[in-house]
Amino acid sequence: MIGQVLGHCRVVAKIGEGGMGVVYRAYDELLHRDVAVKVVKKDARLDMSASQRLLHEARASSSLAHPNICTIYEVGETDGELYIVMELVEGKSLAAMCSAVGLAPESVLRYGVQIASALARAHDRGIVHRDLKTANIVLTADGLVKVLDFGLAKQVGGSTFEGTTRSFASVEDASSVSGTLPYMAPEILRGDAADYRSDLWALGVVLYEAASGRLPFEGRTGFEISSAIMREIPKPLGPPVPPGLWAIIQRCLAKEPIQRYQRAGEVQAALEAVQSGGIVSATPSADPGAPTTTILHSVRHAHVRKGDFLLLLGTTKGAFILRSNAQRSRWEVGGPYFHGHNVYAMAYDARGGKHRIWASTASYWGTMLRSSDDFGKSWTNPQQAPIRFPSDAGVSLKNIWQITPGRPEEPDVLYCGVEPAALFETRDGGGTWSLVRGLFDHPHRPRWMPGNGGLALHTVLLDPSDKQRMYVAISAGGVYRTNDGGITWTAQNQGIRATTMPEKYPEFGQCVHKIAMHPAHPERLFLQSHWGLYRSDDCAESWFDIANGVPSDFGFAMVTHPRNPECVYIVPVESDVFRCAVDGRLRVYRTRNAGASWEPLMRGLPQKRAYETVLRDAMTADALDPVGIFFGTRSGQLFGSRDEGRTWQKILDGLPSVVCVRSALFEDTFAASAPSRPRAVPSPSPPSHQSKSRSKSKRRPKR
């Protein structure tokens, strides 16, 4: 092989050999760099489909750009042999570094954080390592951890290697398990499929081994090792291993996947918390069991399958997940999740192959951001609050009002609007959040005033045509816009009346209840204010009144039709004093001409003594065809329309006050059947002030 050229890499020397194949040092003659080339052993005897899968997975893994992941540059085939060109990582394996007594706890934490970070990135891309072990982790001379062989383990069965490694895979059955026995999770030994939580088990084994110099589950034979993994509790690690680190390892090594951390990012955060807390010497917990309460045993779960349609309900006493199919007529209810907690914000994030539900929970015990990748069966419950104001901010988080996934091309970006009014963002899928200082340090901020619900940043809108532009709405601060990705912000409230201030058209301070945008017309925004319905056609530079024919221009909720950019739904309430449906008649109003006129939609909605309120996030539109509109009320009723608002049905009642309704499709097969382009609807010119005042003069209540 030495001297041969694979692709454009000339093989220079043999570096090592493993069960999968031989690794060579090579020189990339095109890009002039040293690389490693792994040539898959011929005697691994991959069948055609297995080699295709290996190629596929290697290609997927090559997308994992992360400082702690050994980058795969290229995969190819030559003379029937598969080869993988990857970053040349020079250093010592963690296995070689672990002495008989283990590494210093500071090193274990430092390396652990990097390994967890690498896993977090891969898992978010849907890639499971499947063979994480100290031999697959290399420490470079500058102290950087590199995790090798991401996503490659599953596809290659075959021979035994490295003494402790035993593969159960047969070459005939490429879907069967493989990996390294002492690192294998109990579910794999039981014959279940490995998932990302099996990697977290392996991470627990790696941390245990690094901290103590020995494996948590040992035996003289494979049978003894398997038996220990399935049944035994690892010997506790005492000083110098800090109890916080031991607690993390225990939770990684919980026998049931659902009892472990549910996300590598959680392990990373927990390790960082121990790091920042300093290494303390204290008596470690003698309890072997891991914390388990992220599992919600007493809760009924909806059994969600691909193709299902979901409604996510946040209430003042917990969250619910409703499942249906595309017909949206029969519902299975899961929940309540987070008993007694305020769930003001929920979101569904299907970017990057995820199907993650986010929820904010607020209670006596603080406000947490939590997520579930299994439709509510288990939820993250981070040790450290993920969203927190820095100490110099001088304020503490009260509530999370809005969770907004970032743009599709940035699947790791999310935003949270919080109370007290501020914006947080994450760029690593929720692992770490940072305060957007440009907005928090805005000179206006000290003069924003809390509304009835508190001083909250409740809406975040991202301009799909301009990655640097976004809008936020604050009660009561008004609309703010950034054109530079959040570095600087300007108040954008010209034309919006402030009814609670002496100056009627101030620069900021308006109590904006909701803003909405249609992606096909990102320069146009709609706004429901504390008294006032507005539209802007110039990226919020100016606003004009569109309350043409509504019984009241006071309200909270406002959603745009997913395809028709002229179509908006609102639910007017009588006044700021009497925040109930006007005249006790529950009516949704819809415009199909961008606010030139509004029509009531009430077939099937109660029209007598229905003193209902629909709060600002308690209405949503789905992406199906015809579009479904769903809203919940403060009195705990949930209504839905499957025909764009023409007729309505009550779906549930007796719920706690509904504060948030979101819809989701487990997969986008239905969305794909819907028109992907908005219909061409001519944009009406702004209504004249004359016609507007005429139409409203009789119908708008006195203020």
Partner: protein, 93 residues
């Protein structure tokens, strides 16, 4: 003798199920006792205090039978063998 924390049910998932946690160090103040508790069980910290280090508004901490809000807050002195209870306040809604 150690200081003992009584852990409410809502926080036991962060203390591996323990309802009582003994602190072997000899903390002199509530702040020191809490620091030792948080070092043992990091998940308890953000449930009990805000990110600014203040005890949460609707959480009460008692040393013996005294609410620490009236005895100096986090600076309240802690004696050997004392028992510290963390309990949510009574409030409606």
């Amino acid at each position: 003798m150690p200081v003992t924390f009584h852990i409410p049910g809502a926080l036991r998932e962060f203390t591996v199920g323990r309802s009582r946690v003994e602190i072997e160090q000899a903390p002199k103040t509530l702040a020191e006792a809490l620091s030792a508790l948080f070092a043992l069980y990091p998940g308890v910290r953000d449930r009990v205090v805000t990110e600014q280090g203040n005890v949460r508004e609707h959480i009460n901490i008692f040393i013996g039978e005294e609410n620490v809000r009236y005895t100096g807050g986090l600076a309240s002195s802690v004696s050997a063998e004392c028992e510290i209870s963390i309990v949510p306040a009574v409030s409606g809604g």
